[in-house]
Amino acid sequence: MSIKIENLVYKYMTGTPFEKTAIDDVSLEIKDGEFIGLIGHTGSGKSTLIQQLNGLLKPTSGKIYIDGEDITVKGINLKKIRQKVGLVFQYPEYQLFEETVFKDVAFGPQNLGLSDDEILKRVKRALKIVGIDFEKYKDKSPFDLSGGQRRRIAIAGILAMEPKILILDEPTAGLDPKGRDEILEEIRKLHKEYNNTVILVSHSMEDVAKLVDRLIVMYKGKNILTGTPREVFKEIETLEKIGLAVPQVTYLIRELRKRGIDIREDIITVKEAQEEIVRLLRRDKK
């Protein structure tokens, strides 16, 4: 499902002395099945932007089309939009509320008015995707589980709605490296399997470098840069100026080039760096 944003403006507290433009004339297009990384420092407008994509916030002006349908018009069926656009907030585990894991994950589909069979099928599928054993956990209280498990269950609650567009706001914040890698791997697999549109908001440049097709960089409410991670991470100076960074290996390559070593400039993952350095050292031996 595609997203098209035209001249989007969002202002807080309009008409007061505290008026602030959080989204400043953003236009962009996200194609069906694209995996997008949304980066920007705290306060750059990322969260404000994504909350408008499923109608949680109404834009001050501008248009948002989801799958060709303008969702900013009056009287739009928000329930339908939210079924298409699933939004996983930061620290979603704090939003769990039901007595059992099953009830919590089933809450969304139940509100869609689906049959019990269909709900059961969806809950099973969603828990499987996030790596939670259905039989073992379905009757447990979510509050007895670890933080990482609770996070997965909260994500499963959104997945059970089977959204065509999945938006995740820093899904790995506060998780340990293993938990982080597992959740990212699950998102990657899900995207590969269902080819849904995914927007991942992240502060980890290493993670987005490994995962996404395209990056959208926000700064002061504007979309100032977009392109593949390889293209975007070439702009080291720009990114640092706006409070971001590039992956560690990209810094390494820059330092090596400064020392006069002839190595490809556009390296963004450890694997690429490894291959290039091996090639470099072997080439010299010959």
């Binding site: 705290t42 914040a173 998780l175 490296p177 390494l252 070593i261 450890v270």
Partner: protein
């Protein structure tokens, strides 16, 4: 300075009287010297936060002793002295700020100690300038960035004139520049003010500059040493569900490709030097 002697910590899994007991710490011995910069890593649920909360008497061990600068945390009469010696900073900056003006927030602690107003003024200004936030003294905290809020939280602890600061994942919610600001502040306080630092983190890059790295697993200390010693055990660290700094990982991968590179590389500079040497 901080002394944990064979501590165990049990907790009840629910309010039910007969519920089974969980065990969060299983005999931890960890002594932290004055002026030391110690990083604790471990996966979620390994007991690191539980341990940290023992060092300023938020939790009291079920058995064993925690001694903070000569005071046993079991001695209730010493509670406020202990909290004043060892301050704590948590993950979420929004949960730690109590006042509506930055300088009032920083003054909250010393006010509660009953310190005279003119001395509070001095402490607040000194604390805010130590974290480079003096320019924001009259701002509302809600208008600050995450990194700035965390620095205000650190200033609030500094105003208590602690000898030790314990930080539980202070950078988990921050963007790259906010993370940098907070880590630089912590390092400066350690180097220049001699404040003992215990930092809990999931970011291995932050552990690189510590004096000592402590690895926790299932309520125990399983590995301990200089960052170089600990992170060179790449396979062991990974088995524990943790990571090594990206440069250590790269060195590890290069060695797999039969490149004879040092295995204990931690930083970009060291990696650059090694590659130039090998070339």
């Amino acid at each position: 300075m901080l002394w944990a002697n064979n501590i165990y910590f049990y907790y009840k899994k629910s309010d039910d009287e007969n519920s089974e007991k969980g065990i969060a710490l299983k005999g931890v011995n960890l002594n932290i010297k004055k002026g030391e910069f110690v990083v604790i890593i471990g996966h979620n649920g390994s007991g690191k936060s539980t341990l940290a909360k023992h060092y300023n008497a938020i939790l009291i061990p079920s058995s064993g002793d925690v001694i903070v600068d000569g005071m046993n945390t079991k001695d209730g009469s010493k509670l406020w002295n202990i909290r004043q010696k060892a301050g704590m900073v948590f993950q979420n900056p929004d949960n730690q700020i109590v006042a509506t003006i930055v300088e009032e927030d920083v003054a909250f602690g010393p006010e509660n100690l009953g310190i005279p107003p003119e001395k509070i003024r001095k402490r607040v200004d000194e604390s805010l300038s130590a974290v480079n936030m003096l320019d924001y003294a009259h701002h509302g905290p809600h208008l600050l960035s995450g990194g700035q809020k965390q620095r205000v939280a650190i200033a609030g602890v500094l105003a208590m004139r602690p000898e030790c600061i314990i930080l539980d994942e202070p950078t988990a919610m921050l963007d790259p520049s906010g993370r940098r600001e907070v880590i630089d502040t912590i390092k400066r306080l350690n180097k220049e003010e001699g404040i003992t630092i215990v930092l809990i983190t999931h970011f291995m890059e932050e552990a690189v500059e510590a004096d000592r790295v402590v690895v926790m697993e299932e309520g125990k200390v399983v590995l301990e040493g200089s960052p170089r010693d600990v992170f060179s055990k790449v396979e062991e660290i990974k088995r524990l569900g943790l990571d090594v700094p990206e440069m250590t990982e790269l060195a590890f991968e290069l060695r797999k490709s039969n490149i004879n590179i040092r295995e204990d590389i931690l930083t970009i500079e060291e990696m650059v030097d090694e590659i130039c040497r090998l070339k």
